[in-house]
């Protein structure tokens, strides 16, 4: 039971990192990243391949994941930033699919659909409980650092400029803000955070494969961020832990529904995620921890 809880807290921390990423891109800057699962995968593969086959130590793998995520984020967003915001949504959605196809087929690099197993964790896995506790501490500390940094960034003049871009690009541009550059910076940083989450996931579970990085993960994170409050790093992080609790609750709930097959139970769980997101968007769009400052009237 204790190990189960620790496991959930580690996974919750990883989702909280993804939520920090979406908070910065979507909540603060207004850039919808529907390819979050793809950036999560990029980080996981970057760190896993380097540490397993390149013999690089795990901390350097994490740094490589951050860099890979930022570069991928920049490449994906750069062609759409001057366009209507929905173009970025379309491109990122396609990006996540493309990453999955490439990961499934470039077998020399990614192991194909078999994935990569035995990813080093930087410490012995046979430590049992201790391994999981240390992982929890590391993930939570990294989450805390990202959270602190994001809070500072959001409160800084840079963060204010991002929110100005979100509310009205033209006004921000007239005020002398370099809109395209601001958006690219925010999106690349956000993607780096998502990639860091992916790297941690790989090192913790020791196994990654294309099927893990389903588009569903992206919807999970949207649900987490909407539940917590998409404009505040604190809200996004807490939303992620609520998400994990919700997912586990639906797992048990689906098991006790009578006369339902395993496929049907899984379908019920996924549908409940979609329904929860629709309801939250409609009735509680600003989440548990709404942004504090006054929004300008639309």
């Amino acid at each position: 039971m204790v190990s189960y809880l620790i496991f959930l807290l580690v996974v919750g921390g990883i989702y909280a990192l993804l939520a920090q990423s979406l908070c910065l891109a979507w909540g603060v800057t207004g850039l919808v990243n529907l390819g979050l699962a793809g950036f999560f995968a990029i980080g996981a593969y970057a760190s896993a391949t380097l540490t397993k086959w390149g013999g690089v130590p795990v901390p350097l793998g994490l740094v490589a994941a951050l860099v890979a995520g930022a570069v991928a984020g920049f490449v994906v967003c750069v062609s759409t930033l001057r366009l209507r915001d929905d173009y970025l949504a379309i491109v990122t959605l396609g990006f996540a699919e493309a990453v999955r196809v490439i990961a499934s087929n470039e077998i020399w690099l990614t192991g194909g659909t078999d994935g990569i197993s035995g990813i080093p964790a930087g410490m012995p896995r046979d430590w049992g409980q201790r391994f999981h506790i240390i992982s929890l501490v590391i993930v939570t500390i990294l989450l805390g650092l990202v959270w602190l940094a994001l809070r500072r960034l959001v409160a800084s003049p840079w963060g204010r400029a991002l929110r100005a871009v979100r509310e009205d690009q033209i006004v921000a541009a007239v005020a002398g803000k370099r809109v395209t550059r601001l958006k690219a910076e925010a999106f690349a940083i956000a993607c780096a955070i998502a990639a860091l989450a992916g790297a941690l996931y790989g090192h913790y579970t020791s196994y990654i494969a294309p099927e893990i990085f389903q588009p569903l993960i992206t919807i999970y994170v949207f649900l987490a961020v909407t539940a917590g409050g998409n404009g505040r790093p604190t809200g996004a992080a807490i939303g992620a832990y609520i998400l994990i609790a919700f997912l586990e609750a639906t797992r048990f709930a689906a098991e006790i529904v009578p006369g339902v097959s395993a496929v049907q139970a899984a379908a019920l769980r996924e549908a409940s995620v979609g329904i929860a997101l629709i309801l939250l968007l409609r009735f509680r769009q600003r989440g548990l921890f709404p942004e504090l400052n006054q929004k300008a009237p639309a």
Partner: protein, 288 residues
């Protein structure tokens, strides 16, 4: 080599014409309601299942199953619009897009709950491919091609000759001017959603006829649909058709050169290139 190329082009034109049907639905909804409807893949799947039930349970021929796919997907699209998307109109296009993505997930899982993950096939007579010189064309492939052309002809006639169709084009062209001329925006939006989702449903069924029907039949099409719409210019009706045929050909040609699995990536690459070089697409006018 030349034969393989020509064969790929023939297949590409046929696949592209079928792809044009859901791409028209996506672009029509974008043109009139001004947001990208990410439920389009799930709506195509709804149509595929509706057509499959019509064919295998009620014994309908394809010409009878196709309107069923249109109707059921149209109603599902209406439900998505009124339950999930419309309440968020005040929050902007992005919120509506996210809500439609969530609604698509719900639709997909309703189908999974009802039908499971198994692949379903239409009851079709087995026919030998026709050979014309070096080339092969399946009679079923040709029938699907014809059905897709018929869908498009009907849509064209609807947009060209009916009052509602003209109102739709007017709203898509210039919303304020259309409202000024007394076009009822609520009604036009309603009709557009039903027609757009219905087209997606018919497209899903046509693709299901060619391959098989499962809860992800439509989802697998999504990238190609987006690519077709973006290449043609988001919101442009003739653009969606031209874009779809171009994407169909590009996907078939890519198989000759690259690993067939990368067919799925063609759409993404085309989207990136178009948005970098000519964001308005072939026929579009408004991108920024």
């Amino acid at each position: 080599m030349i034969e393989a190329l020509l064969q790929a082009l023939i297949n590409g034109v046929i696949a592209g014409t079928i792809l044009a049907v859901p791409a028209l639905g996506f672009t029509a909804i974008f043109a009139v309601l001004n947001y990208p409807n990410f439920a389009i893949g799930a709506l195509a799947t709804v149509g595929a299942y509706a057509g499959w039930v019509g064919n295998t349970v009620f014994g309908l021929p394809m010409l009878g199953a196709l309107p069923l796919a249109f109707g059921v997907a149209g109603l599902a699209g209406l439900a998505v619009q009124s339950l999930a998307v419309k309440p968020l109109e005040a929050s902007g296009a992005l919120m509506m897009a996210i809500a439609s993505l969530a609604a698509g997930l719900v639709l997909e899982n309703i189908l999974r709950f009802g039908f499971g993950n198994d692949l379903r096939g239409f009851e079709l007579p087995l026919l030998r491919d026709w050979r014309i010189g070096e080339f092969r064309i399946g009679p079923q492939q040709l029938e699907n091609f014809g059905l897709a052309l018929a869908c498009m002809a009907l849509l064209w006639a609807f947009l060209r000759f009916s009052r509602t169709g003209r109102a739709m084009r007017a709203v898509a062209d210039n919303r304020d001017l259309a409202l000024l001329r007394g076009v009822d925006p609520v009604r036009v939006a309603l009709v557009t959603v039903i027609v757009g989702a219905g087209l997606a449903g018919m497209g899903g069924m046509l693709v299901g006829l060619d391959t098989s029907v499962d809860p992800l039949t439509g989802t697998r099409l999504v990238l190609s649909i987006f690519a077709a719409a973006v290449l043609g210019g988001l919101g442009s009706i003739p653009g969606a058709v031209a874009g779809a045929i171009a994407i169909g050909m590009a996907e078939e040609l890519s198989v000759i050169v690259f690993n067939p699995a990368y067919r799925l990536v063609v759409g993404f690459v085309v989207i990136l290139i178009v948005l970098t070089l000519r964001p308005a697409g072939l026929f579009g006018t408004r991108a920024s």
